[in-house]
Assembly symmetry: C2
Homo-oligomer: 323 residues x 2
């Protein structure tokens, strides 16, 4: 099969594009009909050996995950995902074993998010697999920026944190089969994370928002810096239930996974304190996990001994600290 | 420097985004204000060891080229480039030596094409450098598809072909300094190709269009298949002037470079035969290089012995044939 044959195959694997698409896969570029909404664009990549290990992730898992991590950024802006382009760099000879499963997962994820795959690219690379996805969404209401947090806001977390990091530890210490059998929720969070997508989310009044890709504390710092506020975290409000059994077994601290583990794709946001009940009704499972304060950018927890600052460690591709 | 520091640096290196951009670099995603035009989206990648060799390409060259190859796809659709997102995967420790030069080249190319860099991503990869760019343009008139060629159309080529392939051969046989000194046009075509961008191009009546990234014959085949037509090429109408000295010196055939060399980013298009003069006036340097015929998809040249078919060889990432 040559590149053109693969592109034809891919066309047959993905859903027919939605109404807004004038030109989809197969020409020099995709064309979208004019839209009355603002368009939201983001790009994220999954790199072999950094974001996944082919010993654990199937091609189908990677199809799901590559799209989900981008949809999560679209959701964080308060937008509805619509389209995606998929740029694959893969070793020669890998296409046969990789592309069918990858596009099966990608198409399923796209279908569940009502998102059309409108284009992409295939390139060869001797050295490893890189998956770059660009997602496009339609803004609903005003963009939800990192800079919108205000003093006295409640800090909310929608979705689990720490699960993906704990899932990776389970995979690395137990192997794929045993980890899946004993800790299915954690392994699923690592291999097939889901973006937080809901119409209810889009209609809420939210001040600031970010998705938790690099770890909870790291994202709290992003909000604190962009909004020039202090962020007080109530760690007792985090849900560690699913983490505790593995923590007990491995001697790890469940709270550390929740604070510093990356790749969870939960949504972290702030809203006026009076909206707590409305938000709890709209987003089942959402938790109020802290409060915004006036002051210099900072992140802390309150203990009997006073403020305990939390450092911005988390997954950083270019720094010295790694989660 | 950590990832956040690099993103701040990048913000300072790129031009302030244009009016259409509500949110640029630095949040979870970019936001574009609603546009009355259809939007055109494409993504393309440059891979270390496949599309470039760091022994020849400087980071600045790669900044230019990574954007130009995407702008070329936007131009081929008959659209005006507006925005780009840049997804970089690079080895740890490479950022300091790579990012400043890369963004210098990228910003210069973006500025000359009136294109705003609105977002991107940085990831680590032990194994090599991958650059994925997604470009967004605004459609002018109807999209120019591969499928629009009609019997009796003239086939036009705007821009040089074979130069980039010959430039690569010069680099590989002579080394960077000598190749640049002796064959500056060819080396420039390889290291810093330019997309064919012009308002005059956008206002022409064109039936079908494609950019020449994989080689002239390969792209003729794409048009032939998509339009279900035969494409007759007049090889004597190709401009081999700049190729001839290196061909003479190296014993290579200049015509082979022109027919099968990739990475030139010329535009290949068809238009009604009566438009030849108008097109020649609008696009200086454009050449009529063939004619479209009714019949099964095919590509050929006419010789004294009759039709000589041209096979669709060119750069194929997954096939057995390579340029």
């Amino acid at each position: 099969m040559n590149e053109l044959d693969w592109i034809r195959k891919i066309q047959s694997w993905v859903e027919a594009p939605a109404k807004g698409v004038a030109v989809g896969i197969g020409d020099d570029a995709a064309v979208l009909n004019p839209s009355e909404a603002s368009l939201v664009l983001t790009t994220d990549s999954l790199v072999d050996g950094v974001h996944f290990d082919l010993a654990y992730s199937s091609p189908e898992d990677l199809g799901h995950k590559a799209l989900a991590v981008n949809l999560s950024d679209i959701a964080a802006m308060g937008a509805r995902p619509k389209y995606a382009l998929v740029n694959l760099v893969l070793p020669p000879g890998k296409a046969e074993n990789f592309l069918p499963g990858f596009y099966k997962g990608l198409s399923a994820e796209a279908q569940s998010a009502v998102t059309s795959i409108i284009g992409g690219n295939l390139s060869r690379c001797e050295k490893g697999l890189v998956i770059c996805v660009t997602a496009v969404g339609e803004q609903v209401g005003a963009p939800r920026l990192r800079s919108g947090a205000r003093p006295r806001d409640t800090i909310f977390l929608w979705g689990a944190v720490g699960h993906a990091a704990a899932g990776l530890q389970a995979l690395q210490s137990l192997g794929l089969e045993e980890a899946k059998a004993l800790f299915p929720t954690l392994v699923q969070a690592q291999l097939r994370p889901k973006a937080c997508l809901s119409d209810a989310w889009l209609s809420l009044g939210v001040h600031a928002s970010i998705d938790v890709s690099d770890g909870l504390v790291s994202e709290l710092w992003h909000l604190a810096r962009a909004s020039s506020v202090g962020m007080e975290l109530f760690p007792q409000n985090l849900d560690l239930t699913a983490l505790q059994p593995l923590a007990d077994e491995s001697g790890a601290a469940a709270l550390d996974w929740a604070l510093y583990g990356g790749e969870d794709y939960a949504l972290l946001f702030t809203a006026a304190a009076g909206k707590d009940e409305e938000i709890a009704r709209a987003l089942p499972g959402v938790r109020a996990i802290g409060r915004v304060h006036a002051g210099e950018p900072s992140v802390w927890i309150s203990t009997e001994k006073g403020h305990q600052p939390l450092e911005a460690r988390g997954f950083d591709h270019f720094g010295d600290t790694k989660a």
